[in-house]
């Protein structure tokens, strides 16, 4: 039998393959690592996988949700264990192969140096990866898993157990009338909101940047400072200020401004459509300065010769804008513009802080101006429909990722064509 196969087979118990290759210290290292892996994580793995499959069997001893969390941690730990196991197998096989070809094996020192050299990127990005797994990946996996359980107010610890129900929640979203109509209402408003609010803030930002950047405009420094103010003041503060300004009965917009023009009170916070108008205007106010700042940077990097040449050719102001300024801005800023849209799609703060997603809609868990994320938040925090919220999270993620990937592809090809 060839050395590589023997070493590989022996390595089924980590370390033995390395012993066979006469790499004693490395073998001992692998063996110790494997033993300590099971010593440390044995209980967690045992408990975790049992919990993951059953979600608990006895009340009140078992808490389905904690068991699910431990189960997911067990899965993550297992993946790391398997990766280590794979490295162990590969190392035994590779060294066996070297022996088959009658080549010299690396000494421990050489191995160590190799590890440091090739491992450098892993070592420096390791801590970030750990935080990412802990703070982002684990929660997302957990949330996705919840979507396939029946966890809600009536199936929650300590009094009750939750259970796996497969795709039932997803079917219910599309078959139960009230859920389906709410889902499509919220989705429609989310899409409209994203498109209108983002387009407004982007075009306002670009437009104002072009205006201020005209060569013969005075006080540009003053205007630039004023126009970035909405970006400089923390967003949650301004949203709450606007909530006061737009208040139906005591807000300054109804009482001072509209009254001055002789217009009667507008039900900003109690009529769905007026709340939507207010939200879009506010997002325009909040969002344009960022685009304004970046566009100003882009505009200042466009060489003057282009405009001078165009002037000599007799181009009008608008022709210059359409054929020089606009394409330059679009090419340079495509990614930033796209992020504005994905940002607003998930723009929870403005919706929730302004009017709590309201006004309330009778018989529905979502308010008149709730977008998907704020609806998910309400389902979780207010009506305890956890599995429904989790299923919606999956639908939302699929939706955003599909559109974003499609967009990124388009802009990339657009860039290459330009």
């Amino acid at each position: 039998m060839q050395h590589r196969k023997t070493a590989l087979l022996l390595s089924i118990i980590p370390g033995l393959g390395q012993f066979y290759n006469k790499q004693w210290i490395k073998g001992l290292f692998f063996l110790l690592l494997a033993v300590s892996f099971f010593a440390v994580f044995g209980d967690l793995l045992n408990m975790g996988f049992w919990g993951l499959f059953t979600l608990g069997t006895e009340v009140p001893r078992d808490n389905s949700i904690f068991l699910l969390a431990e189960g997911i941690i067990a899965v993550i730990v297992t993946i790391f264990g398997l990766a280590f196991y794979y490295i162990n197998l590969r190392d035994a096989y590779k060294n066996g192969q070297l022996r088959d070809n009658n080549q010299r094996l690396h000494s421990l020192k050489e191995d160590y140096r190799n590890l440091i050299e090739q491992g450098y990127p892993y070592v420096i990005s390791g801590p970030s990866l750990f935080i990412l797994i802990f703070a982002v990946i684990f929660p997302i996996l957990f949330s996705f898993a919840l979507a396939f359980t029946n966890y809600d107010l009536y199936h929650s610890p300590p009094a009750n157990l939750a259970d796996w129900v497969g795709l039932e929640t997803f079917f219910e979203i599309f078959t139960v009338d009230i859920w389906r109509s709410t889902f499509f209402d919220v989705l429609a408003w989310t899409v409209i909101w994203t498109l209108v609010a983002s387009t407004l803030q982007v075009s306002l930002g670009v437009f104002l940047a072009v205006l201020v950047n005209q060569k013969d405009v005075k006080f540009t420094k003053f205007y630039r400072t004023v126009l970035v103010l909405p970006w400089a003041v923390p967003g949650f503060v301004t949203i709450l200020i606007f909530a006061g300004l737009f208040n139906d009965s005591f807000g300054a917009i109804n009482n001072d401004i509209l009254a001055a023009f002789g217009i009667g009170s507008i039900p900003w916070l109690t009529d769905e459509n007026w709340t939507r108008v207010a939200l879009i205007l506010m997002q325009g106010w909040l969002g344009f300065p960022y685009i304004f700042l970046v566009t100003t940077g882009v505009l200042q990097s466009i060489p003057d010769d282009l405009y001078e040449a165009a002037t000599i050719d007799g181009a009008s102001v608008f022709a210059k804008f359409r054929h020089i300024t606009m394409p330059m801005i679009l090419i340079a800023m495509a990614p930033i513009i796209i992020t504005q849209y994905t940002f607003n799609f998930n723009n929870f703060n403005i919706i929730y802080l302004f009017n709590g997603g309201g006004p309330a809609v009778p018989g529905s868990t979502a308010g008149g101006t709730d977008i998907l994320v704020s609806w998910i938040y309400k389902l979780t925090m207010q009506s305890s429909q956890y599995s429904l919220a989790a299923a919606l999270t999956i639908l939302l993620s699929v939706f955003v990722i599909t559109i974003a990937l499609w967009q990124f592809r388009r802009t990339n090809s657009f860039k290459e064509g330009a």
Binding site: A69, Y122, I131, A135, A232, I241, G244
Partner: protein, 283 residues
């Protein structure tokens, strides 16, 4: 002909300034109004005017009066602490990761980049229940450090992309000639790459600082007692408290946080812009 052009220019400038003055009013009005409200006596906004008839400092005093449900000073310090540590943590972890992605071709690199791209599109707080359960399992409800860790995690995917894009534009020749001179990877990173990435570091630092300040969801899930609150939760509760909502006290609190931050932003905006613009072209 010449007169025509002059006339045209006059109208163009007239319209330009008209629009800009209109925008200035729209931007300044809510801000001035808040300043006015904070000096108005009483709790409601009904009698509020921009220039108060009987200006009072009561609301500013109330912020620091040490009421059980209104611990403005503590919230302020909590917010500062969380923002600063999130900023430091994100800058460190993002720079290292971006350096690895930009300069090394290692196994799993492409997969990791795709993963980062996907992760930045799923809002972190849609996994709210998980974070809540996590905090309970770890016994870290009300813990600022847990929150900081979660914020740093949330900052990593997108900012790594920005930073990697920026580092990609730094010529490789610089690394290589330093390597020939015998510099180690870490030295190249600290002495060549980092100083040249300064504009993007400013952007990442800004994102790290403002992220926690703009977050309401994660913090309200994990921080449950008034003395652990951050400013967003504290001020939100002040406005929406059923028993004693006070817009005027909120206005005073809003001003004390907004003015220093606005000044810092306006002073530093040049540093952000070059990074942002570069980030735009590189993706």
């Amino acid at each position: 002909m010449l007169k025509d052009m002059k006339k045209q220019k006059f109208f163009r400038l007239l319209i330009t300034h008209g629009i800009l003055i209109f925008m200035t009013v729209i931007i300044i009005y809510p801000l001035i109004w808040t300043v006015g409200a904070s000096f108005n006596p009483g709790n409601s906004l009904i009698s509020t005017s921009i220039i108060p008839k009987n200006p009072t400092l009561d609301h500013y005093r109330e912020l620091f009066a040490g009421k059980e449900s209104l611990q403005y000073g503590a919230w302020y310090l909590n917010s500062l602490k969380i923002s600063i540590f999130t900023m430091l943590g994100s800058v460190i972890s993002v720079s290292f990761t971006a350096y690895a992605f930009s300069r090394f071709r290692f196994k799993g690199r492409q997969h990791a980049l795709t993963l980062f791209l996907l992760l930045q599109m799923i809002p972190q707080f849609s996994a709210l229940i998980a974070l809540f359960v996590l905090a309970q399992i770890l016994g870290m409800m009300n813990s600022h450090w847990l929150l900081i860790l979660l914020y740093i995690g949330g900052q990593i995917p997108m900012n790594t992309y920005l930073m990697k894009g920026y580092m990609d534009s730094i010529p490789m020749d610089l690394d290589e000639s330093a390597k020939i001179d015998g510099a180690s990877n870490t030295r190249i990173f600290l002495q060549i790459i980092m100083p040249l990435s300064r504009p993007m570091i400013a952007v990442v630092a800004m994102n790290g600082f403002t992220g926690p300040l703009g977050d309401f969801v994660l913090s309200s899930t994990i921080l449950r007692t008034p003395e652990a609150y951050t400013l967003p939760i504290g001020l939100y509760n002040l406005v929406n408290d059923v028993m004693g909502a006070s817009y005027t006290t909120f206005a005073a609190g809003a001003i004390l946080i907004s003015i220093p931050i606005a000044i810092i932003f306006i002073l530093l905006q040049k540093n952000f812009v070059s990074g942002l613009t570069a980030g735009g072209t590189k993706g």
